[in-house]
């Protein structure tokens, strides 16, 4: 996917001016967070499970080479194949070759953020193979030629009416000539259209929520059942997963599943959780005859052992964006690439470069709500701060900010001079603003006064000046 992260500020302007998006975001802000809160409260063990989930992922990352090799061994033992892809390009080539090897014309795809990351659809289309997105949200945005705006709810930026228009436009040639207005009718129509696509597909491509080293299984969590149709009906099942998805055992999966669904949608359990291990057995009545796992690195291994390693614990539940007030204001597209919200703000600079995505880790108030709900306790604000430090070190911080900061910190380190300067500022601001109590505009503070008044300090001087004047005695103003 082509990044527009460098245009973040323009993207923000577009997002804030889009009334449909703002309507959709208003629903998201209350819906997901309230359901997650209730789910967490229903389970007294939830906080202990979060600790345990964090520890499991840390353990897996510290022994990642071992668990990947173990996973590979088990997949091969049960008749599957494992492909190693150091880069996005490698993964695209491997998947393209696999599809060509069975003469594939269509690929039924179950939602995969890694597939978005490597821009798989564009590659398949260039090979003359049609990728069919089967997750309802992904299907809607594929019809609209839009990228996902959320990692678990890709079409969350759209209203029902927009979906109705999209289906009316694209399904009319298939004989659906009525513009539908009810949600259940829209879902039923998409089900009908996509069912035939499942039956016709030559390859089913899915992501994986977890790879279980103990059994060589890929684990998929969905609510719609589209991933299961994708891995059951076509003759080849390809799993595309990044290397940090591997976990040791089924017991570990049980812990992670318990925090995943609750953090993501507030469900006790998603409708479908599926373990796939190898191709169909000799006496099975259905299932794919070939099972391939493509393991993608794409820069992740270089994050291990650094301060940024914590980001690799992510299990892609989306809770951080569901609770982020910045995401809630601008939606996912403004972030400009595959992963939006707080996790996007730390992942994107890693995956496509901090020069391209430098705004993302800066566009946060560090309110900490993301960290407070993260099921694997990723210190997201801390990681964003690391990116800001790297930008500062590499002189990527805007010049005006650097100069202002340099002047300010020079002053702060000279307390006497600072007292004098702040006393002057206090007097000026107080003198000219006293009558109104506030300023409607102020030189050098346009960012503030464009949208808000700026309060003037009352008369009497700074706190320190007043304290000194009264000899340190208690003063009652």
């Amino acid at each position: 996917m082509q990044s527009t992260a460098h245009d973040f500020k323009d993207n923000v302007g577009t997002a804030l001016a889009d009334p449909n998006l703002q309507d959709s975001l208003a629903k998201l802000k209350v819906g997901f967070s309230e359901r997650r809160r209730q789910a967490a409260e229903r389970l007294p063990e939830f906080e202990a499970l979060r600790d345990c989930a964090r520890d499991i992922k840390n353990h897996a990352l510290a022994n990642l080479d071992f668990y990947l090799e173990e996973f590979e061994r088990k997949v091969i033992a049960l008749g599957g194949h494992v492909h190693w892809a150091p880069t996005a390009d490698d993964a695209r080539r491997i998947i393209g070759d696999l599809c060509k090897s069975v003469g594939a014309r269509t690929v039924a795809k179950s939602k995969s953020m890694v597939a978005e990351e490597i821009a798989l659809n564009e590659h398949l289309e260039a090979l003359g193979i049609a990728p069919i997105e089967t997750d309802l949200g992904e299907y809607i945005i594929q019809l609209r030629h839009e990228p996902p705006s959320h990692i678990i709810a890709p079409a969350v930026h759209l209203t029902k009416d927009q979906v109705a228009d999209t289906f009316f436009e694209h399904h009319a040639p298939l004989g659906f000539t009525k513009r539908l207005t009810e949600r259940n009718d829209l879902v039923a129509e998409a089900r009908h259209v996509l069912r035939q696509k499942f039956l016709d597909a030559d390859v089913g491509l899915t992501g994986a929520n977890f790879l279980v080293a103990e059994t060589g299984s890929s684990m998929l969590v969905t609510n719609e059942g589209n991933a299961d149709l994708s891995n059951t009906l076509p003759k080849m099942h390809i799993v595309l997963a990044s290397i940090e998805k591997v976990i040791p055992t089924l017991e570990d999966a049980a812990v992670l599943l318990r925090v995943l669904a609750r953090s993501a949608t507030g469900q006790e359990s998603s409708a479908y959780t599926t373990l796939n291990t190898g191709p169909k057995r000799a006496d099975d009545l259905d299932g794919p005859s070939a099972y391939h796992v493509v393991l993608l690195d794409n820069g992740r291994s270089s994050v291990l052992g650094t301060k940024m390693q914590d980001m690799l614990r992510c299990i892609r539940c989306g809770a951080c964006m569901n609770h982020c007030p910045v995401y809630g204001a601008i939606g996912g597209h403004a972030y400009g690439w595959v992963y939006p919200g707080p996790i996007g703000a730390v992942l994107t600079p890693q995956l496509i470069g901090v020069e391209e995505a430098g705004d993302l880790p800066n566009a946060s108030t560090f309110c900490g709500r993301c960290e407070s709900v993260c099921p694997v306790r990723i210190p997201l604000p801390g990681l964003m701060r690391h990116w800001r430090e790297r930008e500062f070190e590499r002189h990527l911080t805007p010049r005006a900010v650097r100069q202002g900061l340099a002047l300010w910190s020079w002053l702060v380190r000279r307390p006497k001079l600072y007292r004098w300067a702040t006393q002057m500022a206090n007097r000026l601001l107080s003198m000219f603003g006293r009558a109104e109590g506030r300023y409607r505009s102020l030189p050098l503070a346009g960012g503030w006064t464009r949208f808000r008044d700026f309060p003037a300090p009352p008369a009497g001087g700074t706190f320190h000046a007043q304290w000194a004047r009264h000899g340190g005695a208690r003063v009652r103003p």
Partner: protein, 228 residues
């Protein structure tokens, strides 16, 4: 596949070790992770599902219903009657694809003169399927299906209505017991092609976050819980 023959594999694994500032795991470290694989530690126990058998069954039913499944509890002899009655109650055709499973053959389907059963995998035209279940999970009302000649996966997915026959004795507290049962049945180093754990009918929240049932999988799930 050896590393010398696969440079991409070596590149990733070496990269991981380099970043972790080590070579291959030391013998001690390897022993520790192998031990962890051999005897997997369990996470925090979810207390709400640690119950005597009867209450566990009740908890299963409660959560299954909370997740939009319907539940009937019957004696073994009444299973075929209940299936027919469910189809009639819901104005569904007396016609179903049934898993070719010895467990299901123990019920006397011939007693249902009007019920037309086809044994085999799921087909696009099927409206109703009947399957057994490997286990039920009380903690969340989840069904566990293990694929095999007696349980084609397509039956769990293609029909609009999925009727599942679950024996009370197969209801366990949580996932952990299911893993133990799977290892017991298939061996520590094997697995069926697919293990589906299914909680209620298919659903989507992709249009304005409002839940609609029947996105791609079954719209209705009916669980017949059979007394032991």
């Amino acid at each position: 596949m050896s590393e010398t023959r696969n440079p991409a594999r070596a590149q990733i694994l070496d990269g991981i070790r380099r970043s972790l500032h080590r070579g291959d795991l030391t013998d001690t470290a390897r022993l520790a992770v192998e031990q962890r694989l051999a005897v997997p530690p369990r996470g925090p126990v979810v207390a709400r599902a640690q119950l005597p058998a009867a209450e566990k069954v009740a908890l299963f039913c409660q959560w299954a219903e909370a997740n939009n499944a319907t539940v009937s509890r019957v004696a073994a002899a009444d299973v075929p009657d209940e299936v027919s009655a469910y189809l009639a109650r819901n104005n569904l055709p007396a016609e179903a694809a049934i898993a070719p499973s010895p467990q299901l053959e123990r019920y006397d389907w011939t007693s249902q003169k009007l019920l037309n059963l086809r044994r085999g995998r799921g087909e696009a035209r099927d409206q109703v399927s009947i399957t057994g279940a490997f286990a039920g999970i009380a903690e969340t009302g989840t069904l566990v299906m293990a694929s095999g000649p007696d349980h084609p996966v397509s039956l769990n997915l293609l029909p609009d209505t999925h009727i599942v026959v679950l024996r009370e004795g197969d209801i366990v507290s949580g996932y952990e017991e299911v893993w133990t049962m799977l290892r017991g049945r298939y061996g520590k180093n094997s697995m069926p092609r697919t293990v589906n754990t299914i909680t209620g009918p298919s659903r989507t929240g992709d249009i304005e976050q409002a839940i609609e049932l029947g996105a791609h999988g079954p719209r209705r799930m009916h669980i017949v819980v059979v007394h032991d």
